[in-house]
């Protein structure tokens, strides 16, 4: 099992550009999550999904969109990148009644 994989690992965007952060898990987990991690602030939940076709907002959803068309994939979309979205983004997955498994992260810089 590869676990949770994220692409790209690094990305620099210009203000106003858009991009999609990819997340795939091969553990057949129902639940998937996107977090952002800012220095000294821990992780904050952006969006989560409890299964294909079902998504919900977390603590900091503004400026982001998600979709969940399959169990394996949970992409995160930034439509109009802003400097405030400079962060490290982590995708995670879990099976009901179990802990969350995290991907290696995507480091995004918006200039």
């Amino acid at each position: 099992n590869a676990g949770v994989t994220q692409t790209p690992k690094f990305r620099i965007l210009k203000i106003g550009q858009s991009m999609t952060l990819q997340c795939t898990q091969d553990m057949n987990h129902n639940y998937m999550y996107w977090y952002r991690q800012d220095p000294g602030m821990g992780l904050k939940l952006i969006y989560y999904s409890v299964g294909a076709g079902i998504t919900d907002k977390g603590e900091v959803p503004n400026g982001y969109n998600v979709s969940r068309s399959t169990t394996e994939d949970f992409p995160l979309r930034l439509e109009l990148a802003a400097p405030s979205q400079t962060s490290v983004y982590f995708c995670a997955s879990s099976y009901r009644d179990n802990e969350q498994f995290f991907g290696p992260g995507t480091r995004l810089t918006v200039l």
């Binding site: 639940y31 000294g40 602030m41 821990g42 939940l45 989560y48 409890v50 995290f102 290696p104």
Partner: protein, 115 residues
């Protein structure tokens, strides 16, 4: 809404010494508690978790944590640290088993190991 406080931003410990990292949580019902470790440039790895039952839980890498409901605490301990334990440690609380609607994380404690 739940919250997690890790009062120590940085902790420095000598190699071979004991370690305790503090975590206090705020949640109205029975919490589901986790400790994660993050090495530089890496993702998060689960050290241990508490759902119910025995309040002293054992984890990987020789770590343990004790749930104290009366103090709303879930402190992480290790009897003897190794240089490889230097990392960022996060305490987290979930409102449901497995954190199905996401986890709330503390801001983390940066552990420095002195030779």
């Amino acid at each position: 809404a739940q919250s997690v406080t890790q009062p120590d931003i940085h902790i420095t410990v000598s190699e071979g010494a004991s370690l305790e990292l503090r975590c206090n949580y705020s949640y109205g019902a029975t919490p589901y508690l986790f400790w994660y470790v993050q090495s530089p440039g890496q993702g998060l790895q689960l050290l241990l978790k508490y759902f119910s039952g025995d309040t002293l839980v054992q984890g990987i890498k020789g770590f343990e944590a004790e749930f104290k409901r009366s103090q709303s605490s879930f402190n992480l301990r290790k009897p003897s640290v190794h240089w490889s334990d230097a990392a960022e440690y996060f305490c987290a609380v979930g409102a449901t088993v497995g954190g199905a609607d996401g986890l709330t994380f503390g801001k983390g404690t940066h552990l420095i190991i002195q030779p």
